[in-house]
């Protein structure tokens, strides 16, 4: 397996900036994210304070980012990273379908996670609550599970789970403009309810509280677009929804850096890009010192 110098997670201004600086400093870099870069940036109506782009729509700045990445030969790997493991002298990154990547340093630029966890979600994580159906499906052989999918992308996780579990309840927590889920599997039942919280029940069961009553199953899967930072990198020190960083963008885990909205306010594009630059330079310095 190729071991990259630097893995960058996120293709917003922070991640793009970090990848560009890493490449400028002649490091091999793998950039994880979306070819559309950042939904938040694409939707920004007008940005007034990004130097060089007076009164630019976010899409214009995004297009310029794409040209810059292309010009530098930086490709975007469209794989969702579910976990980053600190192995001592390198990091192992787990993508979808259990694909693994390796890098000497990691830069987290995945943006701030919108929405709070459900009451009970964090307390019961690993004890009836899971964030990854492909990881934990095997524990549900012959059992029932509820899946709260926060985007249509999560439907294939429910289908995968249904191959193993007896019964899967799928709860779409979608935006109004997203299509309703349709499954061909007979053991998947779609419930159009609003999840409110999760509680422990007798006999290894968990109850998902909803606006239409309680659903008791063997487990609840919460599948969001982005993974909370503490879940993404086990052992990472966080402060609420943000990763705790020093001025050089280092975290409490050696070789792991963070930048952009995920390190805290102000949520500004130019601040994110600046932090991406600092994170990359710090990662370069870390790698060079580790030689």
């Amino acid at each position: 397996m190729e071991r990259y110098d630097i893995a960058v997670i996120g293709t917003g201004p922070a991640g793009v900036s970090a990848a560009i600086t890493s490449k400028v400093r002649n490091k091999s870099v793998i950039l994880f994210g979306s070819k559309d870069l950042s939904a938040k940036l694409a939707k920004a109506h007008t940005i007034l304070n990004y130097p060089g782009f007076p009164e630019a729509p976010g899409a214009e700045i995004g297009a310029a980012f794409s040209r810059h990445l292309d010009a530098m030969g930086i490709e975007i790997t469209e794989d969702k990273i579910n976990a980053v493991y600190s192995m001592g002298d390198y990091f192992a990154l787990q993508g979808g379908e259990n694909a693994m990547y390796e890098a000497k340093a990691v830069i987290i630029a995945s943006g701030v996670v919108a929405g709070k966890p459900l009451p009970g979600e964090e307390e019961l994580l690993g004890r009836g609550v899971s964030y990854c159906a492909t990881c934990d499906a095997a524990l549900y052989r012959g059992k029932s599970a509820a899946v709260c999918g926060f985007s249509p992308k999560e439907e294939h996780e429910a289908s995968f789970l249904a191959e193993i579990a007896d019964k899967v309840y799928y709860i779409p927590v979608y935006r109004k403009d997203e299509p309703a889920p349709v499954f061909s599997e007979e053991n998947i039942e779609v419930l159009n309810v609003k999840p409110l919280g999760i509680e422990k029940r007798e006999g290894r069961k968990v109850a998902l509280r909803t606006d239409a009553g309680e659903l008791v199953t063997d487990g609840v899967f919460i599948l969001r677009d982005s993974v909370a930072p503490g879940q993404l990198v086990p052992g990472l020190e966080v402060e609420g929804a943000h990763i705790k960083v020093a001025r050089d963008m280092s975290t409490n885990i050696a070789g792991c850096f963070a930048c952009g909205d995920i390190t805290g306010t102000p949520y500004q594009y130019v601040k994110a890009a600046g932090e991406g630059n600092v994170a990359a330079l710090s990662a370069v310095s870390y790698i060079d010192k580790s030689k």
Binding site: S86, N98, R127, C135, D136, A138, P234
Partner: protein, 109 residues
Amino acid sequence: MIKEVVNNDFSEVLAARTAVVDFKAVWCGPCKMMHPVLEKVSDLLADKAEFFAADIDDNDELVAELADSGVLMIQAVPTLAVFKDGKCVASTVGFVPQPQLEAWLSENL
């Protein structure tokens, strides 16, 4: 050194003064990552505890027995558990980097 629990035989763990057990599965990515970290830590702390690994599929009767008796419920892997004189005194779920694992064990051994 990590000893493998086989045939649902938990007697060595229960007989140990202090034991650390890694409940794992072959299909679990985080478990594969956890194992080399635990190998290193087991060497560092060899004088403080005995280290074991138990595949939950190969030892499914043991896993069910631990759950039914209320000793330890395994609902995700890896689950790391500390046993003292046969009693489970602490457990943690998911991959833990080496420094954090050493800190957790120093609190619980």
